[in-house]
């Protein structure tokens, strides 16, 4: 278990996590699964090269914070602008996600949505359409960077092989927060769900990938094409290329071609292919149709023409990203959903909520296109498109000519004017990283921001549950211009420190309690005791939830010391819930007498010390005290 303080520093660093995609042209080791180069490479060399792709930089900042930057081939990825800029400027890039205040995003989204529908939409189609589109583009650009951040975080975790700077729980939190960033209420999801969200998403993504890998392989096989998975440095195939063998063009001339799922034209009737002047490659196959080195005995050479490139991370179908014979093919398909949506909403002012025939028509149309796996009206290619950029950036095994060809074609798929070209993104990333580091080092930069954030965090210590929402409302209604902050005093700083640590221990104990009916079987009981000790020591700052959790720990352990610590915690937590829980333990006839006696003793002391106790519980406790005197 990580200590609370190290968690704090990581969390502080994570405060400003934004992302910057690297489009480095430096040599890397992402490989074609079929490429000869890959098969010939020594696995240990590959691993070493892969490790070199990633580097962690830690920058200690004033105020006890730490800036963690993960570099892909010496370029930081975690920071990026989310606005369209040709030059990054000198300001720090805005965060795409503030992990310490993820809920703020939810309220902002509400506010903007309300503003859009109540105000902007009433000013006619031009304003309505342009604002909708701008917000959509901004959101898409952000999603694209979130997708890349997620992919790179996973790659960093799996490929460096070094001890992660994050605990599994922290990794799950960062990943889950990023994953939930595009959900309406994603920012206010209870922390306890993060692990589940992360696991579910990981499983779903890998399921989709395998599913599409196999679907595309089978379709390629059926149509006598060649399938080539493209792998990330961790070996996961995220994309795939389809090729046609030049000798097959003659052999299969005029043959029927089923374009379902492939979404490309029949290569057997395409007159351009026999005279193909574009990119080609010669591959060597053995008798078992495996790609081998040219000098392998019995190997035969086949000239291959690329037909299409697909993303495998897309739900249900491999999604066409590049059609080497028709540049607009993927773009048209990408546009279909957006056009339908924009025309219905902005031009026809149709809404699923207000127009029942439209609602049903839309449901049926969406069902059919989705169910049949038609590459029309599908969700955006954003994620897989974004990952392909990453793949191209990290891959060294791509023939440079093919890589450039794909990059060039890929830019045409994007519908988002905010999206920059790969080179521009890389340039911006470098500039932004420089600006970020400068910002982090400037006294009025990141340290000041952290200071402000801490003062904002102190609000929860100084103000109760009635005042806090009002202060938040004021913040939202003023578009963030007004933010209530406390004056930082040594006492408040100390209280904040304790609060954060209590939050950490409470969160840990909640996970413990949720996970098992008997704690010592699953957890290192010393970790549990340590958290309980901390809670007991700082009982005055603990809340109802912590009291309930301590009682649940008591019920789920047979460990003597842990049980004692639970009772001690409940005694020291000065609130009604804690005393109610103690009373419940006392009343539990199934428990051994000593635990009940100990509870009674603590309750007597609580009465004597005039702790906070619910009146009805106080009566019971007083009768208990009188009985035993």
């Amino acid at each position: 278990m990580r200590s609370a303080s190290s968690f704090k520093s990581a969390r502080l660093a994570a405060l400003l996590l934004t992302l910057l995609l690297t489009f480095s042209s430096l040599p890397q080791s992402v490989s074609f699964a079929q490429s000869c180069a890959t098969t010939a490479e020594n696995p240990s060399e590959v691993t070493e090269k892969t490790k070199q792709l990633f580097r962690l930089e830690r920058l200690n900042l004033a105020g006890g914070a730490e800036l963690l930057t993960i570099f892909g081939t010496a370029i930081p990825f975690l920071y990026s602008r989310v606005r369209d800029k040709r030059s990054a400027g000198n300001d720090a890039p805005p965060p795409i996600m503030d992990l310490a205040a993820a809920d703020r995003e939810v309220w902002n989204r509400f506010l903007w949505t309300g503003l859009q529908y109540l105000l902007l939409d009433s000013y006619g189609i031009p304003l309505k359409a342009s604002t909708h589109t701008f917000r959509q583009n901004l959101s898409d650009y952000r999603k694209a960077h979130v997708a890349r951040a997620l992919a790179l975080l996973s790659l960093y975790e799996s490929e460096t092989g070094t001890q992660s700077v994050f605990t599994p729980a922290e990794t799950a939190e960062i990943q889950a927060r990023l994953l939930l960033s595009d959900k309406m209420f994603g920012g206010i999801v209870d922390d306890i769900n993060f692990q589940k969200v992360y696991e579910k998403q990981t499983t779903a993504v890998r399921d989709t990938r395998g599913h599409n890998w196999e679907l595309l392989r089978q379709r390629a096989e059926k149509e006598s094409l060649y399938f080539e998975p493209l792998e990330m440095p961790d070996g996961s195939a995220t994309h795939a290329l389809l090729w046609v063998a030049r000798p097959d063009l003659e052999k299969n001339q005029g043959r029927h071609f089923d374009s379902r799922f492939l979404n490309i034209q029949n290569p057997w009737t395409d007159n351009r292919l026999p005279d193909w002047k574009g990119y080609t490659i010669t591959r060597y196959f053995d008798a078992d149709n495996r790609v081998v080195a040219p000098d392998t005995t019995g190997a035969h050479a086949v000239e291959m023409i690329p037909l299409a490139l697909y993303g495998l991370d897309f739900p249900k179908i491999p999604i066409l990203l590049v059609d080497f014979r028709d540049q607009l093919n993927p773009k048209r398909r990408e546009m279909s959903h957006r056009v339908l949506q924009d025309v219905a909403r902005d031009l026809l002012s149709l809404s699923s909520f207000a127009n029942i025939p439209y609602f049903f028509g839309r449901v049926v149309y969406d069902f059919v296109t989705s169910r049949r796996g038609l590459d029309l009206n599908q969700m955006s290619r954003l994620r897989t498109y974004s990952q392909l950029k990453l793949l191209l950036g990290l891959s060294a095994s791509f023939d440079p000519e093919l890589r450039d060809d794909i990059s060039r074609r890929l830019e045409r798929v994007s519908l988002n004017p905010l999206e920059n070209g790969m080179e521009t993104e890389a340039k911006l990333a470098r500039e932004q990283y420089g600006a970020l580091v400068a910002y982090a080092r400037r006294p009025d930069g990141l340290p000041a921001r952290i200071e402000r954030d801490r003062r904002e965090e102190m609000v929860s210590i100084k103000h109760g549950s009635v005042e806090r929402p009002l202060l938040r409302l004021a913040n939202v209604l003023s578009f963030g211009i007004y933010t209530h902050r406390e004056k930082a005093t040594p006492e408040l700083l100390s209280q904040l420190d304790i609060k954060r640590q209590l939050d950490f221990h409470a969160g840990f104990l909640r996970r413990v309690v949720k996970s098992t009916p008997q704690i010592e079987v699953v957890w290192n009981i010393e970790d549990v005791r340590r958290s309980l000790r901390f809670i007991a020591e700082h009982g005055s700052a603990a809340d109802d939830k912590i009291a309930s959790t301590s009682a649940q720990v008591f019920a789920r352990t047979e460990d003597e010391e842990t049980r004692k610590l639970c009772l001690n915690s409940l005694y020291r937590i000065n609130n009604e819930t804690a005393k109610k829980e103690l009373l419940n333990i006392y009343r539990d006839a199934k428990l051994e007498a000593r635990w009940r006696e100990q509870s009674a003793e603590y309750l007597r002391l609580a009465i004597k010390e005039e702790q906070r106790i619910a009146p009805e519980d106080a009566k019971v406790i007083l009768s208990l005290v009188n009985e035993n005197q």
């Binding site: 696991e199 080539e228 149709n289 169910r371 699953v522 957890w523």
Partner: protein
Amino acid sequence: MKISNCKVGNRQLAVGSKKRTLRCLLPTAYCLLLLCQSIAFAQTKRVVILKVDGLQPDIVDSFVRERDPQTGMSLLPWIEHVFYERGTRVENFYVRGMSLSAPSWSMLDTGQHLQIKGNVEFDRLTLHAYDYLNFSPFYMRNIAGLSIDMPGTETLDEAGLPLLIDAYAPQERFASFQLYQRGMHWRTFQSAAENRFLKSPRELLDEWTTGFEVRNTLSDQLERDLIERLNNPAYRYLDLYILDFDHAAHHNRDRETHLHVLQALDATVGRVWTAIQKSPLASDTALVIVSDHGFNTDEKVYSQGFNLVKLLGSAEGGGHHVITKRRLMMDYAIKGVNPFVPLITTTTPESYYLKGQSTDYPTALVDFDGNERSSIHLRDSDLNVLHILLQQLQRKDLSVEMRRAMMDAFFKTLDRRRAEWGDKLSQLNEELSALHREIAKEHDALKALEEKKRPKDNSDSIDPNDVKRLVARYNASVDNERKYSEYARSLSNLLALRRDTFDPRRIKIEDVIAKGAMGVRNNIYELQNYVVGLASVGPTLAADGSLDLQRSFQHVDYFSLLHNVAVRNNVQAEVSSHPINFIAVRIPSELIAPLVEKDLRPTSDVVWIYDGQENQALILSREDEAGHLSLRYLPIKNLREDENGSIHFERVGWRALLPLKLFEDPQLNVPEGARISWLDDWHTDLEWLRATHKTEYSNGIIGLNEQLARHHNEAFDTDVPGLSDDERKLRRFHRRRRELVEADMLVVANNHWNFDVRGFNPGGNHGSFLRISTHSTLMFAGGERTGIPRGQVVEEPYDSLSFMPTVLALTGQIKNGQVPVKILWERGFRQFPGPVIKEVLSGGGEKASPVAEGVAIAP
């Protein structure tokens, strides 16, 4: 006084005699007690079974041994705590037969040899599909009052094989939803919905945002129900069927997914174990975890699918319209949302003679479930010949010579099969008559029950489920009578055709060639020379004016066709470019016996394994007088059957690359230096299991025999004395129905290949005889009084047949290691062919005392 003295004397004598007897008996009893202590069964009063579909023990073991860096505990702490530290693990437990859910659970749940041979079975004559996996139709039929038990349970009932839960009275058992389910508890759905959705708004909002996990709703509720019932000592049998690992491993090959799903299982083990410990019968309760098969999943390899349906539909595959019980590309079809899945016909445009007639005349049935194997039925090749000739004879443009030649060929073919088909038809008609009378009886019985149910009668004595069961059986009988009669009518019409009165143009083909029927199973000759249509050159006359059958028809040799399939996209080094490993077929022993020396002669069915012309084997089997099975592996090549039904093959010596790859396997456990001599001998199934279980194909030799051979079943035995004529015919009818689901070929996939075309299973599959797929989980743990040894690992290999007798032995419901106690005998339980896992019972303790209700009255 005398009398009195005498009395006293007698009493004294008696006392003296008793004392002497006691003196003799006590030491004897003491010795017997000492002797029996090691074999005495401990007292397990209650058994809780976690039935985990597809739980691969090697994956579990590796996670159990791995430490969580955060906690320092096992990644699967509860499994370690309960089964590794406090229980007994059967380390080498295997599926006997195919590593496939429906057959495997049937063996685990009955302790008897296989009667159910696939997840889906097709009746060749009626195309009735036994879909043992599909819950939705069962739920609907249950609501409609048409079914009370899952289809698998109904089939086993017909075969007279009681389930493990039948050892307990309904009020003593809690069985979750599973393949062999008896009855239905609808309240579970209501509670599940309540528990899922009646939450705090905050929790609901979180669930909505993160995605509702509807999939686990029912299983979570079943777990809650089970835990609740543990507090009631009346419950003596409880089980929980868990599908999650199987589902996840089919889809995902990655370690994280496997770990997440196993950690969820581990948590279930923890909750159930903790609940047991808190229950009144804690020290008398045994917790068992068992799986029906392993899983061929590899983190580095995607399992690749091969479409057998398309192959059979292609011109080279015979242009078959193919029937399946799983919709192809189900997730991409609008109709795929239909949960009831009717028979799915895949129509081919490449049919040679049945274009546009796919729904009337499908000619192939394919079951590909489990995915590493597939069972294929093809229509009787001679029915194809007759069908094609009839079509031709109905043409008006035939020359006189050709018409005469075709007519000769038609009757030659028909006459060749007339006796065999005629016998089958007359037997079937006899059976249908008996069935008709049985239906009348069932109708009367139901009527009588209806009378009893009227309010004035004491209806408490009638179990409503039993009534529903009778209704279901009655409906099934009526349906069977109708469908088989239809087939019989067509066959009767066909056999009634006579050359002298034959006018093909006045015949409706559907009157003589039954629609939707495969006819009799093809023999090897037919499968090697299967007629799929007219040859491209059309009908050709031989020099003597007869129809040249060889040149006139398009033939397919299915063995070489399937074996030679290869793919062009071979992107994974670990995966062969050939999807098919081997094809296996049952051959009646009488065809092989004359061809081998006396000491090799089989007395029961032979299995032929085809792995190319050069690499073939016969698995010979025989049973001794006590019914003990022995098997012999005979390496051969070039097996073929001629037109007259004679089999020919060449013997070869032991070498590498023979089917099942035993000779070259370093894990083959035979005396050093005696590999060939050991392999060249008969061995019992237990000897084979001990020698081969760690090889690549593990107990494949036993599994193939179990899967393909016909096994004796008392309920089908017509020679039992005292049976009425109708009873005998009905038994024969039931046996026939089981035999009619036997496929022509069992096609087994190569490693990391599968035949799933319903969707994609890149994560992994099972169904083959590879060890990774047959190796299953079996672990026991229990309270102090169960006597289950703690921390014990059983290395002796066991298979599915041992599970049921071991559980019954734990609870004292079995005698002499094989024979069920009287009360169970009366409920239909019979001697178990598999051995009890004695190591589980070696913990000592009290003498056996059967726990099921009513057992106490049994002698």
